[in-house]
């Protein structure tokens, strides 16, 4: 492992902030070609399927409120689905791909799931990977290492449970699937009987010359949606801009790590080591105090960028956004930072103890 050639003073978050400023380009370099290639490979499924335009008339969920369930560390710490079930919340539940298993193993079928990441081998794990082997698990500690869904620590057994639940409930699940999704994910969604609604992410401004987005749209004529960099933000965007929900709560959109999380458990720990070295890790993480909770969190360049993207989208949203994560760093103008209980007091005021199936 390389170490810095000369000693350097560590400035907390310095390298991270420099990377955040460049994150749009870094992201496009990392996923752009692969994502567009996936759209090509998925073309037959896309051509024979529905799009998010069809979601507008699909009667997704009840009422004018929605709860987005993502997979940030607050899900494990606060277990929001327990309260959602107790209150018999009858609004719309939208789950990111990473939260589908959390919903299903708690007996809740989300009204809509959302997926977009083009990474083949990793994202399919949220749907159950029929080709997962012990050897592959041994080669990639991505899930084991992180402060994510705890059950992934026993990966093979978890994968079998995910496969079982997805296969059992797939036909009940509508999924807004980005055309950038890998063939593995598209295959699993199709194979398990999910009702697929396709959408194209924006990659650039379609009014610019040589726009990738425009060329993609001309090939598949699928509606375009701003993903905001990640599946949690995309789920929020669908809730208000596609489904027309006026009150959208967020659960599990931490965009950060709890202060007691070791750096080794962060998503890009290995990359952080390679960029700044073990002695300078503080440069790769930004510490932020959440005044609503009077608690500190830290974040990495990618998640900091997600935060910035989300905050820039909020002013133009067609809804009131309630961050009910009860953790993390997503706060600011236009966001009502409030406990989930308070949101449910407003939108599920009469506890019934059961949520409609």
């Amino acid at each position: 492992m390389p170490t810095p050639a000369t000693p350097r003073s560590t400035v907390q978050g310095e390298t991270a902030r420099r990377l955040v400023a460049d994150m749009e380009r870094i992201t496009m370099d990392r996923i752009g070609a692969h994502a567009v290639e996936n759209a090509g490979v998925n073309r037959d499924l896309i051509a024979s399927g529905k799009t998010i335009a069809d979601l507008r008339d699909a009667g997704i969920g009840g009422g004018d409120s929605a709860i987005i369930l993502a997979a940030g560390p607050s899900i494990k710490r606060h277990d929001p689905i327990r309260l959602i079930k107790e209150r018999g919340y009858d609004g719309t539940i939208i789950a990111t791909d990473s939260a589908i298993f959390y919903c299903l193993r708690n007996g809740v079928v989300p009204d809509l799931a959302v997926s977009l990441d083009p990474h083949g081998g990793r994202i399919v794990r949220w749907f159950g990977d029929p080709d997962l082997t012990f050897e592959r698990c041994a080669q990639d500690d991505y899930f084991r290492r992180q402060d994510m869904d705890d059950s992934f620590h026993n990966e093979i057994r978890s994968n079998e449970e995910v496969l079982r639940l997805i296969n059992a409930h797939g036909p009940q699940i509508k999924i807004a699937l980005a055309t950038s999704s890998s063939t593995q994910v598209a295959g699993r969604a199709h194979q398990s009987g999910m009702d697929i609604y396709w959408w194209n992410p924006f990659y650039d401004d379609p009014d610019r010359p040589e726009s990738i987005t425009r060329r993609l749209w001309e090939r598949n004529r699928v509606p375009l949606m701003n993903a905001g960099g990640n599946v949690g933000t995309a789920s929020w965007m669908i809730a208000h801009a596609v489904l027309g929900k006026k009150h959208v709560a967020l659960c599990g959109l931490d965009f950060s790590y709890y202060a007691d999380t070791p750096y080794q458990q962060t998503q890009y720990y290995k990359e952080a080591l390679e960029i700044v070295g073990a002695d300078n890790l503080e440069e790769m993480y930004i510490h932020i105090h959440n005044p609503h909770l009077d608690q500190g969190y830290y974040t990495d360049p990618a998640y900091m960028w997600y935060r910035e993207c989300f905050l820039s989208l909020v002013p133009d949203a067609d809804c009131t956004t309630y961050n009910c994560t009860e953790g993390g760093i997503l706060f600011g103008d236009g966001i009502v930072f409030t406990p989930l209980r308070a949101f449910l007091d407003k939108f599920a005021p009469e506890p019934t103890g059961t949520r409609r199936s």
Binding site: D29, R30, D205, A241, C309, L313
Partner: protein, 60 residues
């Protein structure tokens, strides 16, 4: 090498070896560049966009 080749005079000008610091820096930069490639979000973000149903001029 200095243990095997010991001079018996003091050279008039200091002797310097090839400068390897640029090569070391290139290696470090390369590692960083390769690692940075693996960073990045799950998807692009385009400012001021929400949903566009069609790019045809006669449809919104």
């Amino acid at each position: 090498m200095p243990d095997f080749l010991k001079g018996n005079f003091r050279p008039a000008k200091p002797v310097t070896g090839p400068d390897t610091s640029a090569e070391e820096e290139d290696l470090e930069t390369r590692f960083e560049r390769e690692a940075v490639k693996r960073l990045g979000g799950s998807m692009a973000f385009v400012a001021k966009k929400k949903v566009t149903w069609s790019l045809d001029d006669n449809e919104s």
